[in-house]
């Protein structure tokens, strides 16, 4: 369980990224922080592994304040997947994936073996293992990033817009892959995105943020759609544009679901 207690962050130079943020993220679930740029979502994410230290308040993992932990040790115990994958360009794919293990003191041979297993788990051809990151497509690099995040089997996985830089088709593929992985592995995932569709697809708990890390609404996707807290949320999730206002029409004896403009989006089973 991750808990934010009245956390605030003002960066040197006076920029206030987060004003006063509190939240509990239950274990083995996915929490998505979603908001426009400047809402402090990445800052909040990076507080979990002490890439950013809060100016006020506390972040706790299983009731232990992360401020009491050694940052390097803490980071090694937490998976991190970032935009553009953040791979080391001078290391082969398998060495990149093995990095967290090697840093944790695992022997080279064992680290290799486990890295290859992790690559397989994220659906990458073992042939790619010997290549350098620049020889891979964006989608493949991102899978390598996920494999690296998972290889040391951390309890917590932090994902900072991991699929933001790949094309929509690959993104959809990666999203479904993550849903499948999470179903198998049951990690505590903190996921940051500006894409509400992605948030609803992946999140057990979705946190919609306004400027300065102000929480607009917290809830499951269904709860947020059923009772949006205010106009901001209504507009952010697209309830004001009719795309989510679906109704049923009878066509050839089947019940077809259409949106506010009458475009068909599916059938009732």
């Amino acid at each position: 369980m991750i808990e934010y207690r009245s956390v605030a962050k003002t960066f040197p130079g006076g920029a206030e990224a987060v004003r006063d943020f509190s939240l509990v993220l239950p274990s083995r679930t996915t929490t998505v922080l979603v908001g426009s740029s400047g809402c402090g979502k990445t800052t909040l994410l990076r507080m979990v592994n002490r890439m950013v230290d809060p100016s006020r308040g506390q972040v706790l993992i299983d009731d232990v304040d992360v401020a009491t932990r050694n940052p390097v040790e803490l980071r090694r115990s937490i998976g991190y997947v970032m935009q553009h994958a953040g791979l080391l360009p001078h290391r082969t794919v398998v060495d990149n994936v093995a990095t967290p293990l090697r840093l944790g003191g695992v022997a080279r041979r064992e680290a290799r073996t486990r890295a290859l297993e992790a690559l397989e788990r994220v659906g990458l051809d073992p042939v790619l293992a010997r290549r350098y990151p620049t020889q891979l497509s964006g989608g493949q690099q991102q899978r390598v990033g996920v494999a690296r995040g998972l290889v040391a089997d951390p309890n917590i996985l932090l994902m900072d817009e991991p699929f933001g830089a790949v094309d929509p088709i690959v993104r959809a593929e990666l999203q479904h892959e993550l849903v499948r992985l999470q179903h198998d592995l049951g990690k505590t995932i903190v996921f940051v995105t500006h894409d509400i569709e992605e948030a609803f697809l992946l999140g057990d708990q979705v946190v919609i943020l306004k400027k300065g890390g102000e929480v607009a609404q917290v809830g499951s996707p269904a709860e947020i759609l059923a009772s949006p807290a205010d106009d901001f949320v209504r507009s952010f999730v697209g309830l004001d544009r009719g795309r989510r206002t679906l109704r049923i029409e009878e066509v050839d004896g089947r019940q077809v679901v259409v949106d506010a403009d009458g475009r068909a989006t599916g059938v009732l089973a």
Binding site: R46, N49, M51, V72, E73, R75, R76, Y80, M82, H84, G86, L87, L88, P89, H90, R91, T99, P100, L103, G104, R131, Y132, T134, Q135, L136, S137, R148
Partner: protein
């Protein structure tokens, strides 16, 4: 050409000596300049001052330095160590800047990713930033290597023979052939040494020469 063949054994001896007097300062200069350059890169306030100081050192005339040095180091006047120390000082002076630039050329995103993966500051510097600064460091080494080979030719003036001896000797005897051959030998040596650094760079940085890099 005839003269060259007649004196081949002597010239070869001088060339080896010259090579030795050049490689040691370049390697020492690299080893010393990299940490200084790293500090200059990381240390925002003093960094540029450090680089400037290094550059100023390069403007100290070499002959006076060669003359003063034995008294500072306690070496004898004809000791080759004097030459090596002077050339190393110049190598450091030039390479500090390229080392600082090299570390500056490393992508912040990659450094950030390394930090997030749990690299300690020391591991990050050695295992991530140093190799990624490699291409710029190599460029610096190549420049310094050429200038060191050329600068080393002054050492016969303080009694340490090398290919530069062909200049002093040819000059004293008014024998142009010897001087020309000396120049050619120095150029060839500089080019061979340059080739060595390039090949070492290839071996040390395999990721730069992969096929199909996007």
């Amino acid at each position: 050409m005839r003269w060259f063949l007649d004196n081949w054994t002597d010239i070869r001896g001088l060339a080896w000596r010259h090579l030795w007097l050049s490689i040691v300062p370049v390697v020492l200069g690299f080893v010393l300049a990299v940490p200084i350059g790293y500090v200059a890169h990381r240390w925002r306030l003093g960094g540029s001052a450090l680089v400037s100081i290094a550059s100023v050192v390069y403007t100290i005339p070499s002959l006076p330095l060669l003359v003063i040095l034995p008294s500072l180091l306690g070496t004898t006047f004809l000791d080759p160590t004097n030459v090596i120390v002077v050339l190393t000082i110049y190598a450091v002076a030039v390479m500090v800047r390229s080392a600082a630039d090299g570390f500056g050329s490393v992508s912040e995103a990659v450094v950030d990713a390394a930090r997030a993966s749990g690299y300690s500051a020391w591991q990050r510097a050695v295992q991530v930033e140093l190799p990624l600064a490699g291409p710029v460091l190599l460029a610096g080494v190549r420049v310094v290597s050429v200038s060191t080979v050329s600068l080393a030719t002054i050492s016969p003036l303080i009694g340490v023979s090398n290919l530069g001896s062909l200049f002093t000797d040819g000059f004293q005897r008014s024998f142009a052939t010897e001087i020309v051959i000396g120049i050619v030998c120095v150029v060839v040596l500089a080019l061979l040494l340059d080739l060595l650094w390039v090949l070492l760079g290839r071996v040390a940085m395999p990721w730069l020469s992969v096929r199909g890099a996007r």
